[in-house]
Amino acid sequence: MRKSKNDSVNRRDFLKAAATGTAAAAALAAAPAAAAAAPARNAAPPPLLKLADAAPANVEVLTVDRPGSDFMVDVLKSLDFEYLCANPGNSFRGLHESLINYGGNQRPEFITCCHEESSVGMGHGYAKIEGKPLLVCVHGTVGLQHASMAIYDAFCDRVPVYIILGNFSDAALRFGQVDWTHSAQDPAAMIRDYVKWDDNPLSLQAFAESAVRAYKIATTPPMMPVALVAGHELQEDPVPDGANVSVPKLTMTSPPTGDSGAVAEAARLLVAAENPVLVTDRVARTPAGLARMIELAELLQAPVVDRNGRMNFPTRHPLNHTERAGATIAGADLIAGLELTDFWSTVNSVRGQVSPTWRPSTKPGAKLISVTANDLYLKSNYQDFQRYTPVDLAIAADAEATLPSLIEAVKRQITDDRKRAYADRGAKHAAAHEQAMQAAREAATSGWDASPISTARMSAELWAQIKNEDWSLVSNCQFQSRWPLRLWDFNKHYHYIGAEGGYGVGYGAPASVGAALANRKHGRLTVSIQNDGDLMFAPGVLWTAAHSRIPILILMHNNRAYHQELMQIQIMADRHNRGITRAGIGNILDDPAIDYAKLAQSMGMHGEGPINDPKDLGPAIRRAIEVVKSGHPALVDVLTQPR
């Protein structure tokens, strides 16, 4: 390994020596002699300033030819990250510089973010479209604190985000107050409860091995974020001469599949059931997962209730019974939960008055099967694992990876008699599905011409403009009364990517932009229905979209409130019998009303609105789509009904 030509003592050794009072000796002698020149244990400390003054100027290390961060880039390139999302921070400045110069700012390409929550949120959305993580670099302490909520969302959503965390590990090498303030003894401690794995390697080779290991761990179900500390000195010191460092080969771990006996038993129960129901949440990670869900449902002619954590099942498929979930589950004699996050609330219903009361929502004796990778790995502190649900058969495995063997097992066990029975029930399910779809359309008519614009109307207007495009909806539908899922034809894996996972507000905008970044190379029209309160957490991500030319249509669901909380305070005010006219205090985003069109324009985006008349909405969306098709983001501000 080459060093600078005039570098007789490397910077790290020089500074260490200075800190122990041996700088002069180190400067005057060759590096190996430095240790021998160390003062006797009880000797009085030498006058540091005098010694420093005495140090010849030509021993100061001014350049480094090959810093450790170059090697880190070699390692990261081997993992084939497309993008790096980061807000700059000097704890990873060495890596930053190596990535853009040594690495050529290609694979990964630096995406400038205005907040670490945006960096991680973008990684969250990107991974759900692309099926793999992007790289996020985070500044020590304060940067990680900004990032933490987004990391928690990705953790709860079982999404891989690959985080490199800068830190000034060696206290002797910190330059001043800021470095100390932005350093930690154990930097990843604050997020350890909600990452799958973290490490703090002390050498470049350890970094390389941990980097590859982290990638494998993050992308093996259950997928979760990982964090790797990159020490400031490890980045900035040169790779030692003769260092035996190498980039380990990445071998992806196959996802865990169900035990063959348990899968056969699940198939037996499914085949024998008269009214089986498949409840999906995060089962379809890939296009293959979606196809296999269709195959399994059609094989059994079993209805699917989709909790929509992913794009698990086509919305207009005759066996999609999400719209009539309550009746479907109530009539089931067997419920198979596939990567179902909250099984308890699926088979129980709650009435949330002063004390919540639960009652079963299933028939007595209904059997429950669970297939989930969550049974393989849980953390203790944060309670995202939901209430414990007794089931009759629990298969600890990745459901998508288990589907092929389950399908084969079902095929082996189906008799001709069962096939005839399935055909009959399939016809009934198809009729019930159509009835439910019609009921949804009728419900959408309510307040059709209202101002503010109903969320059903907004969804229908948007659908009219995108239905003939290769579209991808990358926002959560929950706060729009799920209208897109009720009215649109979702049938591709990128048509929907679920929600934030941890219900952490502030996910929507960055995750949408991250998903749009992933969609860009596929030429898809990315659309997002953006909640106003969510955007205001870190609106700078709009600038990132404009700056990085990320095409996305953002339709504001602008109800001018933190509406969920508004309803909660209304409930409290009512419960306490103290009047119900002040619930808006602390919840309303008005006076002054936020002008999101101008906000977008200020970030360099197309912005239009606010639109309050439903007749004006379609043309505004059309204009915005033209902008998006030219490769830029666009925002249309829509004044909407609350939900």
């Binding site: 309510s446 109307r457 009904q641």
Partner: protein
Amino acid sequence: MRKADSVRQLILIAFALALMLTLACPGARAQTSAAPPAASVDNGKKIFSRAGCYACHGMQGEGTNLAPAIAPPPLELPAMIGYLRKPTGKMPAVPVAAASDQQLGDIYAFLKSLAPASNSESLTGNADNGKKLFASYGCYQCHGHQGAGAATAPRIAATALSLAGVIRYVRAPTGQMPPYASKVVSDQDLADIYAFLKTFPLPAPASSIPLLNQ
């Protein structure tokens, strides 16, 4: 099947049979002419008893664990007739062959006569004030600014509920809606809000809206 469910099922079946047979009986059927006679509380009481409505709804229509209270009727008469012709949930349907609209009107009159002392009949709503209250009381939060409904709460614009039914439900709701005491929202306030909700027409059918047929 659990025992309680079996009993419940049997009661429902018995109720349905009794309803069909009793209402189909000529003696019980109202003798209608061109102009329907005024509703008869007495006849409604007889039908209510013979048809076994009480089996699920209680002798005084007060409700049981099998079915909700129906005195005073929570729905306006046309809505109640519509519901009985095509009910949801466990309520058995009452076809015209089993009971005429007139007979159902008699039952309705009987149920109204059973209502606990309420001033809802004497209340006159002010729609303009109701509009203001709908906003200031935060009804819009769950039901939408025009009462059009959302995932959080059903449509209440052009409600089919009677004012008495609204008042009763608001005071003691059965779902996720929090109860509103009269200290917080008076009967007169509710009458005004009710009048406001009644100013809205029923939505157009989805078939008439091209955007909902794509």
